[in-house]
Symmetry: C2
Subunit: 333 residues, 2 copies
């Protein structure tokens, strides 16, 4: 669908390095951190939590960044826009996303807040609890936007997390305008219930007017329509013109659009080590399928294959050859 | 043996963060880097190699630091002396070693070279090829030495890697003097064939006069005596007053001393993912056994158990509970 563009997918998101430790459930309880949650923390709390954490692994992260890194691993031509600082963490993020084959040219911030990081506490059940210090991420603004590059990408992909701080939100709104005027697709992920709660009206507006493909998990779409009934939420989604993909953890995903609900099964995972990045990699696989011209159910299968890979090890960047995994299960395009 | 001291083990070594990527054998060949080697590189080469590397995982490392982190996980009271810089990598190293339960109070260097790092290329066979930029590690000197702390540690543990730069070598020589005057033990690892080749006379002198426990692998002890015959090298080691432990990868280890050669078998490993840290964790297990008063063959078994754990995942710091692993196989002390 996008072969005449320089990029298949251009993503905007938080440029974050994950610091991942293995912790007991008691560690979460003792600090009153809800198991499985994602929350934003300030520099002071980040320092205090880090001091208390077990030894860590630093692995590049950031939701949309994980998505395009994964999509690149499945053959898509991708770019990323997000802000790191001019520091060692920023260099690490920059190296990794470029080494994953993603074009990344946003200038680092200088003299301000350091590169963002997410302190991820992984419990023995494989569930991740995320504590994000946004740092330089928040300094992304509309002046960073290369309109020609956005126009030259078949799909603009945006993460709901980045809707929270004002300047990046304005940059994303500007990007949506450029993308739509260029006749490109816009894809959006709801990211987290706390994002939906904070920006429900905006997200509904995006869904009904500006977005072609929306990703969300069960809790996020229920929150979007303020219901506890998943079927009711999905019925609402079915009234929208866009395609919605609802991810359902081990139960796979449902693609809603064109008057149809298509359920695809989840992939078997021998041992769930760390669920960080499951949704991100699902989106990466789905979009990679889309740009390769695969039918929607195959796109969702590709999402499930990529998500299954990333939860089988620590970190939200794929370790295996995703293109080979997909070819083994679905065949080459 | 050391219960009246503040620390069971005080280690001096390079304070390094590992940057670990998965690479093909062709990547090594194309850059003329010998598979399985360890070499020192300068800042320019470090930058060029990093730019070419696949996405990485950053995990704290450093040979002796890995050893004391492992020993701490098996119940030993440990301390580490080594130099990081006042930068994000240095903070990361500092956090991790303290979180592992190791006392670490060496002041970071300011305004000079950045924290040292080791670019580790792991091939599909699990073998690691190490490219070390020492950075701030080399700025450790004798003025950093807290003589009272060295005197108050039952075992002084030194890595051969740190014998290479002059200032840290002088610091280690001063520490040996303090330890011996206090009636403490001195343990030393040969580290790598390149260290033995560069400092053979020094290492033989250490072995015959200043060291109570020496660690080396087959290639290192053969290089020490300039022979291709392992039995000949071990016969030479048997003439020394100290205990020597020769590690033999999957074949386990041989403890030489007191007129005896004691062979212990290696631990079975389901899949070798990354051999980085095998020797370091062996030494950590061995020394933890020693300070717990276990007999030498049990100490060597503890070394093999710790080494087997660390090669089953990426990174040279243990992920499992080593004390529990040891108790499961050898029982509590």
């Amino acid at each position: 669908m996008t072969s005449n563009r320089r990029f298949d997918i251009l993503a905007m998101g938080n440029a974050i390095v994950d610091v991942i430790s293995s912790e007991t459930p008691d560690f979460l309880t003792s600090r009153s951190i809800p198991h499985g949650s994602m929350r934003l923390i300030d520099a002071v709390e980040a320092e205090a939590l880090y001091a208390a954490m077990a030894p860590g692994r630093q692995i590049s992260g950031g939701s949309a960044a994980n998505t395009v890194a994964g999509a690149a691993g499945m053959g898509a031509r991708t770019a990323f826009v997000g802000r790191v600082a001019d520091d060692q963490l920023g260099e690490f993020f920059t190296h990794d996303i470029r080494a994953a084959g993603v074009h990344f040219a946003t200038a680092p911030a200088t003299g301000g807040r350091p590169t963002g990081r997410c302190l991820i506490l992984v419990t023995p059940d494989g569930e991740r609890t995320m504590n994000t210090y946004l740092g330089a991420c928040q300094e992304l603004d509309a002046t960073d936007l290369d309109a020609a590059m956005v126009a030259d990408a078949g799909i603009l992909y945006l993460e709901g997390y980045l809707w929270d701080p004002a300047a990046p939100r304005a940059a994303m709104q500007a990007a949506i305008k450029v993308a739509r005027e260029a006749g490109n697709k816009v894809a959006f992920t709801l990211s987290d219930v706390f994002c939906v709660t904070g920006h429900r009206a905006d997200f509904r507006d995006l869904l009904s007017q500006h977005v072609d493909i929306m990703f969300g998990n069960e809790n996020e779409v229920k929150s979007l329509y303020e219901t506890d009934d998943l079927d009711a939420a999905m019925a609402q989604l079915a009234t929208q013109a866009c395609i919605t993909v609802v991810t359902r953890s081990e139960k796979g995903a449902v693609v809603i659009g064109g008057g149809q609900h298509t359920q695809v099964p989840g992939e078997k995972v021998a041992r769930v080590v760390d669920t960080t990045g499951a949704g991100d990699l699902f989106a990466g696989g789905f979009l990679a399928g889309l740009v390769a011209g695969r039918p929607l159910p195959d796109c969702a299968r590709m999402g499930c294959i990529a998500a299954a890979e990333v939860i089988s090890h620590f970190g939200a960047r794929a370790e295996a050859d995703l293109a080979k995994l997909v070819a083994g299960k679905l065949g080459n395009v």
